[in-house]
């Protein structure tokens, strides 16, 4: 039973690495920037104190 779990974990690692390679190939990221600036929503100026 215990021997199967590291094997399952190894499969999990392979899946993660596969997704990582896929994200490199498609240059994809859920954190990519995009879209126009929301009009009037941004506040400028220092936040220092």
């Amino acid at each position: 039973m215990m021997a199967r779990i590291p094997f399952g974990y190894a499969l999990w690692c392979l899946a993660v690495l596969g997704l990582f390679v896929g994200s490199i190939f498609y240059a994809y990221s859920p954190f990519a920037d995009g879209g126009r600036a929301p009009a009037g929503a941004r506040i400028y100026g220092p936040t220092h104190k």
Partner: protein
């Protein structure tokens, strides 16, 4: 010490009559057995006496033991017969049971259970070495239960010594995963027993006992079910993390595809600059756009980008702002923000593109104290350097992958520590190692 059965003649089965109730009692290990309890009335008999002397008479029914005496079962490839039954406790607390097993060629063994599991014990012919931590056959045993008095509460069946209810011994226990080393001492002798934790299914198969239900805590010598996973999994995780780092190193490289300097004024005037052509040769790439405004101080520049394909007119848009402020207050000078701005657009397909940049510079002069005199002249012109890089790796993806690789390992490590904490908390010596770090969690 138990007699060595293998070296002695095979014992004969002997029948005798109980002097208390007249019942016929069979001595299964005749020649070795010294005392036994009558199956019918529970009287304790001295069977070493040819006339079978009555030692103690118990007018109570024999206990309904989980393993009926006389039942045979095979453990570790050897067939054993349960011939004796003891109930023990520490002055009534922490009760446990012990069955004496017998095989004419292999001698005696003990089956011990406190209701949470079964252990098969063999009495040692030599004492372990060491003081606090004991060593036996190149294995270390950590102290678990400190010295205590254990007593016999109930006895049934045959034994190789004169056992009686109320008999007391001094006990101490030492453990390593899967094994327990137990000391029992009285005025005359010190006995050491090495017990191996048995698989409940093995006990069920051998003696037909029921599988134990959920236990309130692990057994003192129960190995963590996660320990066997953590070692191999850690090696897999390290290998996967190395592969991840190599992939990031060799596949995640980027290169500068365009660089351009644009004018800017900090008078809120809008500028538009067309940067290009930008030729992208990979099937898909991330576009990394960085700007640097060396003269920016106490102000900000808004950038609106539109990366437009010359072939399809598809547009990829993004927004960034560079803000930089500085001043002085009672704590001294301070700065905030950056003169640079950075955006990254994902999954841009191969092709030729123009980057249309709409931008405007602004001053921040809320109090006037931070006003930069250079900006007083609306005709002043400053510059913004824009650099466009072709890339494929997002740092966020790398960190997400690293976290996903480690999550199962962290979960297993947490479960392992919780198990070890629950196990070691029963010890008279308290948790040790990493488990001790979590000792105060529930307090």
């Amino acid at each position: 010490m138990p007699p060595e059965a293998a070296a002695a003649p095979a014992p004969a089965v002997r029948a005798l009559t109980c002097p208390s109730c007249g019942g016929t009692v069979t001595v299964r290990a005749a020649g070795y057995t010294v005392t036994m309890a009558c199956l019918y009335c529970g009287s304790l008999l001295d069977v070493s006496d040819p006339d079978v002397r009555l030692i103690t008479e118990y007018q109570q029914a024999a206990a309904a033991t989980e393993i009926p005496l006389g039942r045979r079962g095979t453990l570790r490839g050897i067939e054993w017969e349960a011939i004796g039954y003891l109930e023990k406790s520490e002055n009534g607390g922490y009760p446990w049971v012990e069955y004496l097993l017998f095989n004419p060629y292999h001698g005696y063994r003990w089956l011990v259970s406190d209701g949470r599991g079964w252990s098969l014990g063999e009495m040692l012919t030599s004492a372990p070495s060491g003081a606090s931590t004991l060593r036996l056959d190149n294995e270390s045993y950590e102290p678990f239960f400190a010295t205590a008095r254990a007593q016999v509460d109930y006895v049934l069946g045959e034994f190789y010594w004169r056992v009686a209810v109320g008999e007391e011994v001094e006990t101490a226990d030492f453990v390593r995963p899967g094994w327990m080393l137990s000391k029992e001492a009285n005025d005359k002798e010190i006995n050491w027993t090495l017990s191996e934790l048995l698989d409940p299914k093995e006990m069920q198969s051998a003696f037909g006992v029921e599988l134990p239900g959920p236990a309130w805590a692990p057994l003192p010598h129960q190995p963590s079910p996660y320990a066997g996973f953590l070692g191999p999994a850690a090696r897999v995780a390290i290998a996967a993390a190395l592969v991840l780092a190599l992939l990031a190193m060799f596949m995640g490289s980027g290169n500068l595809v365009f660089s351009h300097t644009m004018p800017v004024a900090f008078d809120e005037k809008n500028f538009t600059s067309n940067v290009g052509p930008i030729r992208l040769n990979r099937p898909y790439q991330a576009i990394d756009i960085r700007t640097t405004s060396p003269d920016l101080e106490n102000g900000w520049i808004d950038f609106d980008y539109a990366l437009v394909s010359r072939e399809t007119q598809a547009s990829y848009e993004a927004y960034a702002a560079a803000e930089r402020y500085s001043g002085r207050d009672s704590d001294g000078p301070w700065t905030e923000g950056s003169r640079g701005a950075h955006v990254k657009i994902a999954s841009v397909p191969r092709g030729t593109y123009d980057l249309v940049v709409d931008y405007s510079g602004h001053r921040w002069s809320q109090t006037g104290a931070y006003f930069d005199p250079r900006w007083d002249d609306n005709q002043a012109r400053h510059s913004v350097l824009i650099e466009v890089r072709q890339a494929s790796l997002f740092a966020g993806n790398f960190w997400i992958a690293l976290i996903l690789l480690g999550l199962p390992l962290i979960f297993a490590a947490w479960r392992h520590l919780s198990f070890e904490k629950a196990r070691q908390e029963q010890s008279d010596f308290g948790p040790s190692g990493l488990a001790a770090m979590f000792q105060g969690d529930d307090e």
